[in-house]
């Protein structure tokens, strides 16, 4: 596609800035692009700090933003995402657009008190989002 763009560029007559920006609009990425956002929660807010000893606060993070049409290259999305985007745009708008969701996570170590008063340290998988994708 880079080759085709270069050819188009050569063929295109000297255009005023207005047409150029129009031309490049097809490649622009949404302002509100799909990305990782910070969110810090403390277990006392959930009233769980009586039995969760550590950590007292933790940042699960979350993914939010729009998914552009050309998702493959930028978000590591599977081909299906582009197909679903095509279905949404061309065939059936009731089929949802691809969503901005976590793609990779980090684990979290948690120290808790059990009902019988024993104490348990456990490492939980997938507790912190570290990367987003569109799918």
């Amino acid at each position: 596609s880079r080759q085709r763009r270069n050819e188009n560029l050569k063929a295109a007559p000297a255009t005023s800035p207005y047409n150029l920006s129009e031309y490049f609009k097809q490649f622009v990425f949404p302002q509100n692009e799909c990305e990782l956002h910070n969110f810090r929660l403390s277990f006392s807010q959930l009233k769980w700090d009586k039995w969760i000893i550590a950590p007292q606060r933790y940042s699960p993070q979350y993914c939010q933003g729009d998914c552009p049409r050309a998702v493959g290259h930028r978000y590591g999305s599977p081909v299906h995402t582009m197909v679903q985007n095509l279905i949404y745009e061309k065939l059936d708008p009731s089929v949802p657009k691809p969503s901005c969701v976590p793609a990779e996570y980090s684990p979290l170590s948690v120290l808790t008190i059990e009902p019988d008063g024993s104490i348990v340290y456990k490492e939980y998988e997938d507790m912190i989002a570290t990367k987003c994708t569109c799918r």
């Binding site: 769980w48 039995w51 456990k122």
Partner: protein
């Protein structure tokens, strides 16, 4: 997970909630099929309360015994050694466990603190309840955790020669002889008031846990001679060492899906590095630098 047929534009009928369970609207867990509800019971407390989405504050509904303060101090120290400030498990080499349980002996056995002075024998009857250990938590190592508190801070270093013998209390099974285990070790006190001593009893406990015992009942004899015979140190003012009944520490490998499996992340990191080289997208750093966990495939 259930799938819905969306052929063409007409919508198939949606998934109907089970009519007979009107209570299920109140409690999301009751909407789960029977098998999943049994799985729900196995979930660790944190995931139980997450799947309830806090609809019932789990902690207020479940009566809770307060843990022993010494045990709590020990586990907080273990947490600091095992996780970063943000709570992410540190990448320890050879750290195969992803769960550590500290059990304090149950109180009905009626033993309090006792002083161990100059070669006293400290024998105690311990009953540990293993109900909280799930079927997917496999024992890697077990330790009797003793905490020695000296009545006064020790001015100089001091050595104890100790001997510990454990015998299982199980009158029900006459057939197999009760398991016993004994070992000798020396205990060296530096200038400190408190000392943790971890005595490995894995070989003693492994056969008991393997038979899925829910209660471990053991008699523990603990003898310590103060002063080191070789150096024949004479103690002007003998120090009282308070010996509290030990806690039982279980290092476990939880193979459930929700638990973090360190060895999986090694494999995953190798795959993402390969994928990164192929695609080399702007978001994917080719060096695979993911903060702390950047052990290239080679080191692993």
């Amino acid at each position: 997970p259930h799938s819905r047929d969306r052929g063409g534009s007409d919508k198939a009928s949606g998934f109907l909630a089970a009519p007979e369970d009107t209570a299920s609207e109140l409690n999301p867990v009751l909407q789960l099929p029977k098998g999943a509800r049994r799985g729900y019971a196995l979930l660790p407390p944190l995931l139980k309360v997450l799947s309830d989405q806090g609809s019932r504050s789990w902690d207020s509904q479940v009566p809770r015994l307060q843990p022993d303060s010494r045990a709590l101090r020990y586990m907080k120290r273990l947490y600091k050694m095992s996780a970063t400030k943000e709570g992410i498990p540190k990448a320890h080499k050879g750290h195969l466990y992803n769960t550590v349980r500290l059990l304090t002996p149950c109180s009905e056995c009626g033993h309090g603190h006792s002083d161990l002075v100059k070669g006293d024998v400290h024998s105690v009857d311990l009953l540990f309840n293993l109900d909280r250990v799930t079927a997917l938590e496999h024992l890697l190592k077990s330790v009797l955790l003793y905490s020695f508190d000296t009545s006064v801070p020790i001015s100089s270093s001091m050595t104890f020669i100790c001997h510990l013998s454990i015998k299982e209390h199980d009158f029900s099974s006459q057939v197999c002889p009760s398991i016993s285990h004994s070992l000798a070790f020396s205990l060296h006190f530096e200038v400190s008031k408190r000392k943790w001593v971890e005595i490995d009893v894995t070989s003693f406990l492994q056969p008991l846990i393997a038979t899925n015992r829910r209660n471990i009942h053991m008699a523990v004899n603990f003898t310590c001679l103060m002063g080191d015979p070789q150096q024949s140190t004479k103690l002007e003012n003998p120090v009282n060492v308070t010996l509290v009944p030990p806690s039982l520490l279980l290092y476990l490998n939880d193979t459930s899906e929700q638990a973090y499996h360190r060895w999986n992340s090694l494999g995953h990191r190798r795959k993402s590095l390969v994928r990164a080289r192929q695609r080399n997208g702007p978001l994917e750093d080719p060096t695979g630098d993911k903060g702390k966990r950047n052990a290239q495939g080679k080191r692993a």
